[in-house]
Symmetry: C2
Subunit: 644 residues, 2 copies
């Protein structure tokens, strides 16, 4: 049998292997290590290597993108040696980072050139005429004259600033720094508004906020460059009063409930801003504008609007297009006169997190039939093109945000974000955010784990843990059957990290609601799911989602992988765009006004679709041909797809 030389870099060792050997075998023969957490099934992508030479035949390229392949990457466990090769084994960490970055994570960048003049906050110095007995005009007239001279003939001055004006103007010797909010272009009759007046130079910043039912996120934005100076997220402090919007609405109807919920989310925002303050050195008092997205209930609670009517037919919110308010009116801990611009939503269950998401994902600008899914606590779904959009919402629950799951957590340090389970031993391997000992599972980790447990047969299609498997990983736990992801000795908590049957049920309900949502939505406009040209996935954890695994559990429709794009938190991204650009803000307004809303609770087909989707991947497995192929083997014991 012919042999071939395989040179391994950076170790610079060369081994001879017979034709047909796997690259992974060549590496092992050289005494080098390469991780194969999935047991060499080609499912985890962790054995990706860089291959030079003609003698490599890739049997499977799961987990590698077209770009990866073009660049020369191959999976060591799925690539056969048929000639001489030079194989570079990347640092394990480098692979991870590359995969994460390329496939999912992106730097926060604007899709348009930033023009400070196309947003509403200006800071500059004014030069006023000094008063005398001959020129005894009052302070405010003097200030207004100076503002008119630089192009602002109409400026509203809030009473608080009138109160401070006399002292500031004299302390700065009639050359104050001012912060002005200017109206959007095309409104020549609208007045500008003075937000601040100070002796010292002011470098205004702004904040883009996404208030999710589970997670509150914020970008601190430099208004000079448009850059994100820092971002932070925290669980919404309202969670203890209910995990989903319905329980919050019910709590808000209690005596003092609304006030308490408002207070909580403001407290969460305070924490987030304090953390950004610590990290960037920027005092929240320097924040002169907040643009806020959130589902309709979250914005009602932020603004102190009773949300009760959202819950009851005909599901009418107080307002979908809230007028801007001042920070002090709602008690938001930024500059008290800062404008808080709550972005426009569509209906009670399609809020501005979705309209901002649509803005960010580009659905409203494309000719392609696009499905946009925001996998938050509420799964909201938009289907359409630049010419039309329909939207619906399905109460997915917070499982994918790490809440409602025993060891769920947000995607912060210590969160398992991807898991591989060995096909034969059922032993897991994981990747942890921050590369530390694991503390819990974030949304992408949960999807990954659920899929791995399913395809390795640890759980069945109904989500039941198979306790008869020959591994200590499955056991009857305190809360019923469970799978141990990490032993106490491996975790940062000192306790076993598990996924319970109850967790699995919660995850199944969440994914079923989302799947039912987009299938009913497609049906309502007579579109087949397979005609969807792109699927854009948002949501705070969507950035790290693994499409293969999301399809395996039936969360996403079974379409070719290249049609999926994972965009992360599109709500805050769109909010960031709207904050920095009058025209993006107007586009968002247009999206909110023109989108058609489908009320699922008024649609009988939804409940049937939901029930059918409660299985893995779905009751009708024909809807998931790629997953069905795994099931060609013995029932309950899948044979890995495309295994050589």
């Amino acid at each position: 049998m012919a042999t071939h030389k395989v040179t391994l870099l950076p170790a610079d060792q060369t081994v001879e292997v017979p034709t047909g050997s796997l690259v992974a075998e060549a590496i092992q023969r050289a005494g080098l290590e390469i991780a194969q957490p999935c047991g060499g099934q080609g499912r985890c992508g962790r054995c990706a290597v860089f291959v030079q030479g003609e003698g490599a035949r890739r049997r499977s390229t799961i987990r590698l993108s077209a770009d990866d392949l073009t660049s020369g990457f191959a999976l060591a466990c799925q690539t056969v040696v048929e000639g001489d090769l030079v194989v570079t084994i990347p640092e394990q960490e480098r692979i991870e980072r590359r995969l994460v970055t390329d496939k999912t994570a992106r730097a926060i960048e604007l899709p348009f050139p930033y023009d400070p003049a196309n947003q509403g906050i200006r800071a500059f110095r004014l030069y006023l005429a000094e008063p005398s007995l001959q020129d005894n005009r009052d302070d405010q007239a003097r200030l207004e004259l100076a503002l008119a001279a630089v192009g602002y003939p109409q400026v509203e001055v809030p009473l608080d600033l009138v109160r401070r004006m006399g002292q500031v103007l004299r302390e700065c010797e009639w050359s104050p720094w001012v912060v002005l909010e200017t109206p959007p272009p095309g409104r020549p009759h609208a007045a500008a508004r003075l937000i601040d007046l100070a002796q010292d130079p002011i470098e205004p910043v702004a904040v883009a906020i996404d208030i999710g039912t589970t997670t509150v996120s914020a970008y601190l934005v430099d208004l000079a460059s448009g850059e994100v100076l820092g971002s932070s997220a925290e669980y919404n402090g309202q969670i203890q009063f209910g995990e989903d919007v319905i329980s919050r609405i019910i709590y808000a109807a209690r005596n003092g409930g609304l006030t308490e919920l408002s207070r909580r989310v403001l407290g969460t925002l305070e924490e987030v801003l304090a953390r950004l303050h610590k990290r960037t050195g920027i005092d929240p008092q320097r924040i002169y504008k907040a643009t806020v997205a959130g589902n309709t209930t979250m914005l009602h609670l932020l603004l102190g609007l009773p949300p009760g009517t959202i819950r009851l037919a005909p599901y009418i919110p107080t307002v979908n297009l809230p007028a801007p308010v001042r920070a002090h009116e709602i008690g938001l801990g930024i500059h008290p006169l800062a404008t808080v611009d709550c972005l426009p939503g569509v209906a009670s269950y399609v809020g501005s997190d979705i309209t901002a998401g649509v803005l960010a994902c580009g659905l409203s600008e494309t000719e392609e039939l696009t499905l946009f899914i925001d996998v938050g606590t509420n799964g909201e779904i938009v289907l359409g093109t630049r010419d039309w959009q329909v939207a619906c919402a399905c109460s997915a629950g917070p499982a994918f945000e790490g809440a409602g799951v025993v060891h769920g957590m947000r995607a912060t340090e210590g969160a398992i974000e991807e898991v591989w389970v060995h096909t034969r031993t059922y032993e897991p391997t994981w990747r942890v955010v921050g590369n530390v000992a694991p503390r819990g599972l974030c949304g992408s980790g949960l999807i990954s784990l659920l899929a791995e447990l399913f395809v390795t047969g640890v759980i069945d299609r109904g989500g039941n843990v198979k306790l008869d498997l020959d591994t200590p990983r499955v056991r009857q736990g305190e809360h019923g059957p469970e799978y141990v992801v990490a032993w106490a000795s491996e975790t940062s908590t000192g306790k076993d990290l598990v996924l319970t049957k109850v967790d699995v049920d919660n995850l199944l309900r969440a994914k079923a609601a989302i799947y039912a949502g987009f299938s009913v939505l497609a049906g309502s406009v007579g579109v087949r799911l397979e005609d969807v040209q792109q699927v854009l996935v948002g949501g705070s954890f969507g950035k790290y989602i693994n499409v293969e695994k999301a399809i395996q559990i039936g969360l996403l429709p079974d379409l070719p992988w290249e049609r999926f794009k994972f965009l992360g938190n599109t709500a805050i991204l769109g909010t960031y765009y709207a904050l920095l650009s009058h025209s993006e803000r107007e586009r968002l307004q247009h999206i909110a006004r023109s989108m058609t809303y489908l009320e699922l609770s008024a649609d009988n087909t939804f409940y049937d679709a939901f029930t059918a989707a409660l299985f893995l991947p779905h009751t009708e497995i024909v809807r998931f041909p790629s997953v069905a192929s795994i099931w060609e083997g013995e029932a309950g014991k899948p044979s890995p797809r495309q295994a050589g």
Copy 2:
């Protein structure tokens, strides 16, 4: 000697008297009574009778107007019988009321026809489409649509109302009453503003407020009819922190001083409004607009603006033309979303009490050279015509408002408003507001008393009480020399009611400041006082002022009486006009912007003029020919003018 028949009505007695007898003597001969509190000097006008027949020769007609004379009135003590006469003696009370009404008091009426559409507050019922699953627009969109349908396409809705909207709209079954503030005509791009939203019908009222340094006055105004539903006044609760604006400004600079002063005036307004509530049954929460006049310092304190710079050269206020604020922003106890429109002033010492006064008195519309004097705590003076106006202010102090005088009080029940002192006995007679036992002296009473004491020789030209007179009325009191106006047995307080030397000095300083003010003002524009065609006197007590007596003490220039008009509180009158009419409000703005301000403290001639005016009536008595004529007799003992 010929005799004549004098028939006296309503007693219907006839007496025969010799030619040359006084009517007063005929009355006494018939055994009837007629009051002659001034001792028959023709000074008090209290013996006015109605005379029919040709045989009456009026020697003096002091205290009678041209109208009075035409109607047939004559002074019994100054009218000689030269033929048969029929004399009707009016009820004493009727005379008083008639005199007060004709000469001074007027019903509060608008000088223009009231058009509810020419002011900014509207209340009406709206009919909204009820929501359904098919029409799931949000509450606010529904409300805005209904407003647009009745002509208000742009309406700002304050957050407080958005917060209550859901409940109200459902309680009223989608037919709410709304209160709207609409922009003035000629501002088509300005938005209207929603002020209230309720299930029950709303009849909006408004309030016109004059914040004087000493007295705070308010008119409660029905916005349907434009009528004044009630008026009330109270001492400004800030008085205990200083009687004039300067001491208030100094107090405001203390730690917490500004807050305390704001709180005080708001407390006073609360009292005034509570009294109006009690009297009219109208809850202050139904007040949807407040239009406020006041001197610049008072408005700074109301708005919470530090007034410190008003006091120091170059005397610059924070603002002369304050933007409207919402009642809740300053803590004014009316509807929290009501607009508080603080009227525009001219300079630190010529505030909107004066611009409103100029509006009310008609100076800005007349071709006649007009002197407008507002005799409040600060004597403010405007000279001009419709083409030009100059203004100045002189710190008169609060003496004429009853403060700074031991037994001073406002012109409420129990206040002596006019006094006559008998030429020979020095016994006083008085008229008391409400016709009850006296409690104190109001401004007009003080002027009257000062003049009487002067012309009867109880005090000398320097204001010293002549203790050597043969009457128990003059005495050395606890605080120096004093004159007893009423004995303890006659007063409602059970104590002697006195005017002390210190009181006299305060009154002299007040009148000297005012006289110096208008003489310097006239000089500054090269106008002679005697060319002034009308003198319009405002001020809260100006309605009851006695021109003869005001000239006698040198408070007013010695001009023919018919040139004087006493207009009362012109500040609140102009405020009332501006409240009810967009065009009056605009006229007032124009007055404020076009008036020229003369800073007396930058004018060296003022102090000299003030010092010269500290005498009765003035150091240069030649300036007061009519008073000089009284002094033709022996020095220190005036001979009454025109006595027969």
